[in-house]
């Protein structure tokens, strides 16, 4: 009897895998084409916007210039003249007015993409089947439930990750072309951090699996979508809050440290904390005296705390961008693997 069982199962195994891949692709055919259209449209927009922007910068010879310091020069020309204006300053203003908003808005759209993936691709994946009973159709064919679950997860997972990767690469390429000009866009904020690099790519599988797991456990489409909306938005919010602490910020002390080149401010993610140093070198954050009142209350407060004139600033230099990108991607992928394991455990508990 067992020999018969094996004989049947072995040729069947190959056939079944192909079968499930066909089934999942057929089920998500419409979503696949819609997703492809979205990716192509956004990709085309990015390529066009970047070409326009770089073309403008090249035409006005402001490539590689940064307006990070009042004394900064652009190829020997003043960027922020003390009085009046000049063509270089005008070009900078035009660059800001015309190309900064599309860059930011596209970034906002891209960081919303994982949420949309979770809510509209992940959450209905199992919830709709369990809600309408169509899972019974597949569960009563000759394939195991675990294989079905893996196929259902794997195909959309590959699709959303690939689509997001294309957009993340293009957006990174766009942002980096104007990163030095747009010094006010701090790299550590949600836009561009969550829309660029491996961190952006890893958010897609995590959000998708959050939705899929919610749908599998809740068995209802709308509640699963609502929970996924909260969970994916919460994950991004949490990651943004966690990010400054992923690495120790660098402390820059002004007026003292000759070894620190002002160049450290270029492309830095500033605002991790600042204040005065005490005589012993202890940090006194600027907000320690936020409740001080009166004409000289502020000065008196800092004097009482022992502040000197030495000013410190904590920031993440540009070199922290890639390590943090990989750290966040790692966190997201670890969570995604855990969610996939949860789905497998759940279906295994229901017996195949």
């Amino acid at each position: 009897m067992s020999s018969i069982g094996i004989r049947i199962r072995v040729p069947g195994a190959r056939l079944r895998a192909r079968g499930l891949v066909w089934l999942v692709a057929r089920q998500h055919r419409a979503a696949l084409w819609a997703g492809l259209a979205v990716v192509v449209a956004i990709a085309a927009y990015i390529v066009w916007q970047r070409a326009e922007m770089v073309g403008y910068m090249r035409a006005h010879d402001i490539l590689g210039c940064a307006d990070w310091d009042a004394e900064a020069l652009c190829h020997g020309r003043e960027i922020s003249p003390q009085e009046g204006t000049n063509p270089t300053a005008e070009a900078f203003r035009h660059l800001m007015d015309t190309y900064r908003t599309p860059l930011l808005n596209t970034g906002r759209l891209l960081i919303a993409l994982p949420v949309l993936i979770g809510v509209f691709v992940g959450a209905p994946l199992f919830a709709r089947e369990l809600e309408t009973g169509t899972h019974q159709v597949v569960w009563t064919q000759s394939v195991g439930r675990t294989r079905w679950l893996i196929a259902k997860l794997a195909l959309p997972l590959v699709a959303v990750t690939a689509g997001t990767a294309v957009l993340a690469v293009l957006y990174t390429w766009w942002w980096r072309a104007a990163r030095i000009q747009f010094q006010d866009i701090a790299w550590g904020t949600a836009v561009p951090f969550d829309a660029t690099g491996p961190a952006a790519v890893a958010l897609a599988p995590l959000s998708f699996l959050l939705g899929a797991a919610a749908g599998l456990l809740l068995r209802r489409t709308v509640p699963a979508m609502v929970v996924t909306l909260g969970a994916t938005a919460g994950v991004q919010y949490g990651l943004d809050a966690l990010r400054p602490h992923l690495m120790t910020p660098r402390t820059i002390v002004s007026a003292l440290s000759e070894d620190t080149s002002p160049q450290v401010y270029v492309n830095a993610w500033r605002g991790m904390g600042n204040g005065y140093l005490s005589r012993s070198g202890a940090k006194i954050p600027l907000d320690s005296c936020s409740s001080a009142t009166g004409a000289h209350g502020w000065e008196r407060c800092f004097a009482r705390l022992g502040a000197t004139k030495r000013w410190y600033e904590e920031l993440h230099p540009a070199s922290h961008y890639w390590p943090m990108q990989w750290m966040q991607a790692g966190i997201c992928l670890a969570a995604a693997v855990a969610l996939a394991a949860l789905c497998l455990w759940w279906i295994g508990r229901r017996r195949a």
Partner: protein, 310 residues
């Protein structure tokens, strides 16, 4: 493989129970259905028919006891390809075309018979290009049946397959099922409450009530074990003395006359009593009308799981 089918019953339940949050849907169910039978699963709504079929299809797991399909637990994945199931609400992917739905069967079943499946659909005049979501309830049922028949299973579990069919299509579908059963020796379990559907089609019977089996066995044996007797009703009501030594399933009184469905012990006669052989429908109606009547299992329908295990 045929030997295997014959050796153990198609279905064998022992101490089988299923509890939902609202209570027990099945309790202490024990019966045996031999392979290759056309079995009618009859009972009022909520008697546990769908639960029993879902357990057999492996969609539910029993709370107590065991249900064996061809000698293996119903939850065994290896048994999947040998049973086909059509659920009561006929779930199908609404956005698939009929052709896609049959392709699903072909892709997911190693024994798939495309011709057989297409024939069922063609007989019901359902175009292959039609979207499942646009079909009528009856047409959808045909597609679900085609999916089940194309699987070339050894046991078909059909939960109220004829409920939303017009009489003509019902006859055609039954014809297709019977042809399959006759050609390949496929066993069929059909749950229904349309008793007329069963006449002359089913050779096995499972009657359920209140989550238990009340009648189980070969249809003709069950039918032969019963008699309809008509005679004078007892004064002051109650069961007349003449019927006392028989198992009385149900009695009906019309004026002074009493008709009773009995399982006779010995000669069911008596002076002034007319004895007739009931139709299968009479027997079923008798049991449905008398929920407290004692259950009956033919020798073949008694569960032998415990003996096999010993």
């Amino acid at each position: 493989m045929t030997d295997e089918i014959d050796a153990s019953g198609a279905l064998e339940a022992s101490g089988l129970g299923k509890k939902y949050r609202r209570g027990w849907a099945l309790r202490d169910v024990a019966f045996r259905l031999p392979a290759g039978r056309i079995c009618a699963l009859v009972g009022p709504n909520g008697s546990g028919k769908s639960t029993l079929l879902s357990l057999a299809a492996g969609l539910l797991t029993p709370t107590t006891g065991t249900l064996r399909v061809f000698g293996r637990p119903a939850s065994d994945p290896g048994i999947r390809e040998r049973i086909a199931f059509v659920a009561q609400d006929k779930p199908l992917y609404p956005r698939f075309s009929v052709a896609d739905t049959l392709r699903l069967g072909r892709e997911l079943n190693p024994r798939w018979d495309q011709k057989a499946a297409e024939q069922v659909v063609a007989e019901a005049d359902v175009p292959l290009s039609a979207r499942v979501g646009s079909l009528s309830g009856g047409q959808r049922t045909c597609v679900a049946l085609a999916l089940a028949l194309g699987k070339r299973a050894d046991l078909l579990l059909l939960d109220e397959p004829m409920a939303d069919q017009d009489p003509l299509r019902r006859r055609r579908m039954m014809g297709a099922l019977m042809a399959e059963a006759a050609e390949r020796g496929t066993g069929v379990v059909i749950s229904t409450h349309v008793l007329a559907e069963l006449d002359g089609v089913c050779d096995y019977l499972l009657l359920m009530g209140g989550g238990r089996i009340r009648l189980a066995g070969e249809a003709d044996t069950i039918q032969a074990a019963h008699r309809l007797v008509t005679g004078p009703s007892a004064t002051g009501g109650g069961t007349p003395e003449a019927l006392a030594r028989h198992t009385v399933v149900e009695t009906r009184t019309t004026g002074r006359q009493l008709t009773a469905l009995i399982r006779p012990e010995g000669t069911p006669a008596g002076d002034g009593w007319i004895v007739t052989e009931p139709s299968l429908e009479d027997v079923l109606l008798g049991y449905l009308g008398a929920p407290d009547a004692p259950p009956m299992f033919t020798a073949e329908a008694r569960a032998t799981v415990t003996e096999v295990g010993a």
